[in-house]
């Protein structure tokens, strides 16, 4: 019985195995980036960036149809352009990053929807908006794996300046020049992982497997390393459970995965030992010292 539900779908169907591989790889790269997004109070920036990659992916689609490599490259170019322009404007003018990013991503999103609707069918539009984790081909899986590997290596390299820029940006500026490059490299990682999530979950939900696991981790861990591990674990478990849910119901896989992740988030919000709601309502007797 348990075997039939939890394992059999993946043994019987290749597209389920591919989907599982895709989701696991997404979790490894996306969740740690999501934790940094949360700690830098940039969770919504991630969401905005997800919309910003749309015109690039759409142009890739226009030029070569539903070719995932072309869409990836296009998405990366559009995402980098918006991220770097917004970052530069924030650093060089009085405008803060959120406002400058909002301006660029709205422009980008409008452009993207225009391009898709000029050429594509409604099915294409659905694919772009919601992705299709059950249709990952070899090339796309490989692209996702390469992106996740790059993410983990780069994150390890910029870890120290990134943490320092989160905690005490003024101090980092006073002792090192690494702050700005680390920030730009991090924005690049955000874009790479959004493009990754884009294939499986679409432009609307791509940020879900990054931001939600990070939120979950905050309720279970007090230091950043544990937070990373909890986030990755939460993303893997939710991704797997979402695929199973989607297999046995009529729920499409993208929304199923994000729904499960959101459910885990709600449970963490209630039961998490670090500032969870139940813990706050019933803190137990106060200590002696």
């Amino acid at each position: 019985m348990m075997y039939d539900v939890l394992i059999a779908p993946f043994v019987e169907f290749e597209f389920m195995r591919r989907a599982l591989a895709g989701v696991l790889t997404l979790a490894l790269g996306g969740a740690p980036v999501g934790v940094f997004l949360m700690l830098r109070r940039m969770s919504l920036v991630g969401d905005a960036m997800a919309h910003a990659i749309l015109p690039g992916a759409a142009i890739g689609f226009l030029l070569s149809g539903l070719n995932l490599i072309a869409m990836t490259v296009g998405g990366l170019i559009a995402g980098f352009t918006v991220a770097i322009l917004a970052g530069l404007v924030a650093r060089m003018t009085e405008l803060k990053e959120d406002a400058s990013l909002a301006a660029f991503y709205l422009f980008s999103l409008a452009l993207g929807v225009t391009i898709v609707s000029i050429r594509g069918t409604n099915i294409d539009l659905l694919h772009v908006l919601f992705g299709n984790v059950l249709a990952l081909d070899d090339q796309t899986l490989l692209a996702i794996a390469i992106n996740a590997t790059v993410t983990m290596i780069v994150l390890a390299l910029i870890w120290r300046p990134l943490v320092m820029e989160c905690v005490d940006p003024l101090f980092l500026r006073s002792v090192s020049r690494a702050g700005a490059p680390a920030h730009l490299a991090f924005l690049a990682l955000v874009v790479i992982n959004l493009v990754n999530g884009f294939h499986a979950l679409g432009t609307l939900l791509a940020v879900g497997l990054m931001v939600l696991p990070a939120g979950i981790a905050r309720f279970w861990a007090r230091d950043i390393s544990t937070m990373m591990m909890v986030a990755v674990a939460a993303a893997i478990v939710s991704g797997y459970a979402g695929l199973v849910l989607s297999f046995f119901t009529k729920v499409p896989p993208g929304p199923a995965i994000i729904l499960v992740t959101a459910f885990v988030y709600l449970a963490s919000l209630l039961f998490g030992p670090v500032s969870g709601l139940l813990r706050q309502m019933f803190p137990g007797r106060h200590l002696e010292a």
């Binding site: 700690l39 390299l157 120290r160 300046p161 943490v163 320092m164 989160c166 905690v167 005490d168 940006p169 003024l170 101090f171 500026r173 006073s174 002792v175 090192s176 020049r177 690494a178 861990a221 007090r222 230091d223 950043i224 937070m227």
Partner: protein
């Protein structure tokens, strides 16, 4: 040769000067208090010295040292106290110039961090999250990080604000220790009595230098009254300043 030389320095924002025509030299190993009313330009001067603000005119010379070799404690720290990092790791940031961005924290570095925490009286706080510290403990932690920076020049912007007497006294001992070790220390302060008791040299600043020299000569009733009369507001329609000659402030 001085540790720090200011030549006719004007620092400011959007062309309006906040520190106007300041010249002088800080000798190596000096213990210099910078005194003046709010808005006198103390913080602006320090931001200029650590290279965060480019002078509108004049030059600031560190004589070969890099602005990043100056340890700087800003008045308003921009620290995210909710960030999940321990006191130990936070203080360890002070070693950045020694370890670089990728160097490991080995036994020697751990020992150095432990000693810095002990020097500021925070032994036992290693694993605490920084968000759980009180204001005084926070300041002690920042001083521990300054200790680890091991800098020749240390710039402290109002380090004892909102700090109780015991903590101020402990931290002041560290400042004296730095002075005894021959480091150059600049501190912006409001407590005139503290300056008289501890700092041999004082710069009295009120947008323009009022006096610079031995503390006893600088902190006279007349000078303090002059500093208090300083005009704080920028004049939106001020004409371009054409004074090129250094002002009459005496170099220390």
């Amino acid at each position: 040769m001085g540790a720090l030389t200011l030549r006719n320095v004007t620092l400011g924002y959007d062309r309006h000067p906040a520190v106007h025509h300041l010249s002088g030299e800080v000798t190596p190993g000096a213990l210099l208090a910078v005194v003046g009313p709010n808005g006198a330009g103390k913080s602006t001067l320090f931001r200029g010295i650590v290279g965060m603000l480019k002078p509108l005119a004049g030059t600031i010379s560190l004589h070969g040292a890099n602005a990043r070799d100056v340890a700087y404690l800003p008045q308003v720290a921009d620290i995210d106290r909710s960030f999940p990092i321990s006191v130990f790791d936070f203080v360890g940031m002070g070693l950045l110039r020694r370890t670089g961005l990728f160097g490991g924290i080995g036994r020697r570095e751990r020992l150095a961090i432990e000693q810095a925490l002990q020097a500021v009286g925070l032994t036992g706080f290693e694993a605490r999250a920084i968000g759980t510290l009180s204001g005084g403990q926070m300041q002690r932690m920042l001083f521990a990080r300054l200790l680890l920076q091991d800098a020749r020049i240390i710039v402290l912007d109002e380090p004892f604000n909102a700090i109780d007497a015991k903590t101020s006294a402990d931290l002041l001992d560290l400042v004296r220790r730095w002075h005894a070790e021959g480091r150059t220390v600049l501190a912006a302060l409001h407590d005139i009595e503290l300056v008289r008791a501890t700092f041999p040299e004082t710069l009295l600043l009120a947008r323009e230098p009022v006096a610079w020299g031995d503390t006893a000569d600088v902190l006279t009733t007349d000078n303090l009254a002059t500093a208090r009369r300083m005009c704080e507001a920028f004049d939106e329609h001020a004409a371009a300043c054409i004074v090129d000659a250094p002002s009459s402030a005496r170099a220390a």
